[in-house]
Symmetry: C2
Subunit: 289 residues, 2 copies
């Protein structure tokens, strides 16, 4: 299961309606924060998520609207007495930025911070992919692993009822039983995958990487193509084209410019190209099972 809470769906500057970029994802009990714009700790509180629930912070790029909430968030983790390690994934300069901003504000975290370029666990992976913005930027794919399930009726049919053996089969270890039997009594539940682009133009690097994901969370800053191109962003039509051409399951439009109070035109234009599109409000939630 992957649950997604859109903490901030705006971009550039916060508006009354949409705050700065941050998406909280919970996958197999692990909390992942994608980007941390200024005010993210207020959004977490509004969504009843403790900063202690964040295990991984993944930053897409170093523009202020995506990263200026990081230091305050770390400082609040410190005030709350955090001891648990925090994994941070991000562009090359994220470590320097955090260290300089922390030392500039006399903050020394009492918990370990581990900087990584990706994450692999038994249950899921977080993989960066390049996006096309005005500075170095990357999106993330979060993918749960396929699960092997036992068809109990078929197993019974063959006289197999040993739960220890079932457990071994599920984890891929089945030396005591033939592959054809395993194949007969098992079935696979495909993992879930979501992709978060951060800021990007429509580009083939993104398309290639997000192919077939269940949910694509895509930059949709503007309606106007020229403005989008000038600032390295996408229109909602660009996002819908990406969703269509990458054959994703569902599209969520985010990073909406503060100039749009009424977002109906953005959503309408995208849905014309890719009907399974949503434009989430701040603090709205999606669950994929």
């Amino acid at each position: 299961m992957i649950s997604i809470i859109f903490l901030g769906t705006g971009g550039g500057a916060p508006s009354k309606y949409r705050k700065l970029p941050a998406v909280f994802v919970r996958v197999e009990g692990v909390g992942i924060l994608l980007d941390a714009g200024e005010g993210v700790q207020e959004r977490l509180s509004e969504a009843s998520i403790s900063p202690m629930d964040i295990d991984v912070l993944a930053i897409s790029h170093m523009h202020g609207d995506h990263v200026l909430g990081v230091t305050g968030l770390l400082e609040t983790m410190g005030l709350l007495g955090r001891k648990k390690e925090l994994v941070i994934i991000g562009p090359r300069t994220i470590q320097d930025f955090i260290e300089s901003s922390s030392s500039g504000t006399f903050f020394k975290p009492q918990f370990d911070i581990r900087f990584q370029s990706s994450l692999e666990t038994k249950e899921f992976s977080i993989t960066p992919f390049p996006t096309c913005h005005t500075i170095e930027s990357q999106g993330y794919i979060i993918r749960t692993r396929d699960k092997i399930k036992i068809d109990i009726n078929k197993a019974k049919e063959l006289g197999i009822s040993d739960w220890n053996l079932f457990r071994k089969i599920k984890t891929g270890y089945h030396a005591d039983i033939s592959p054809s039997t395993v194949e007969y009594i098992t079935y696979k539940i495909k993992g879930i995958s979501i992709a978060y682009t951060g800021d990007t133009r429509y580009c083939s690097e993104v398309l290639q990487n997000v192919k077939g994901v269940n949910l694509l969370i895509h930059d949709s800053t503007f309606l106007d193509e020229e403005t989008a191109a000038e600032f390295g962003h996408s229109t909602s039509r660009d996002a819908a084209k990406a969703a269509l051409n990458a054959s994703v399951g569902m599209l969520a439009l985010i990073h909406i410019s503060s100039r749009y109070h009424d977002t109906t035109p953005l959503l309408t234009e995208a849905k014309r190209i890719f009907p399974r599109t949503i434009l989430p409000e701040d603090l709205s939630k999606l669950v994929f099972k």
Copy 2:
């Protein structure tokens, strides 16, 4: 006239009730922001104050809860196309912090930033004074100048009715008229003064400097003396003692720890010592004429 809008009256971490430190002061048409905790641009928007209305930013010290909103605020000023110069007053390292945080987020302001240690205009002054915290810190006194007014009836009595002469007298230039006549036909309206301590223990440095101000905005983080002493803060009793011993006109308690949802005990304890005490909510306003 000085108007004061308490944008954020909490401290340390934002709570549901009180956000991070920021006080907006308007004096003689000039906008002054005292401290800029994370989220300050959202508070400004909630108070219907444009970032463009800020002419002076005065930072008390470099702890994150007072300063982590600065870069985002500057970036939004940039997005809004600001050209007007911004004056920044603060601790020695504020310039390095802003430069490093801006370059780390690829932000180059298109407006001038002038770093100063104080400000003097024809109408008012902003003067820092040392406070007693765990790191180098300073408070600010904002003081409007005394104004000379003409008693028109007394002037008429002496047959004086030249408005040019009145203007000269008001600005302190009166070569054409005797000092005793000036004294007879004029009266003085005393300037208004407010003091903002930022974070501080109760200490004599503060007392000496805030003596007699119309309004003292004082650290009042805790109820408990030991905790206050440990973290270089004041209890609400400390703030009230400071107000009493410095003979100020009115006391406003701020920097309330997020641990207090009900702030009645803080206010009650302070009022026992100094009855003219208020504990402002976020976004509340005071006007001194």
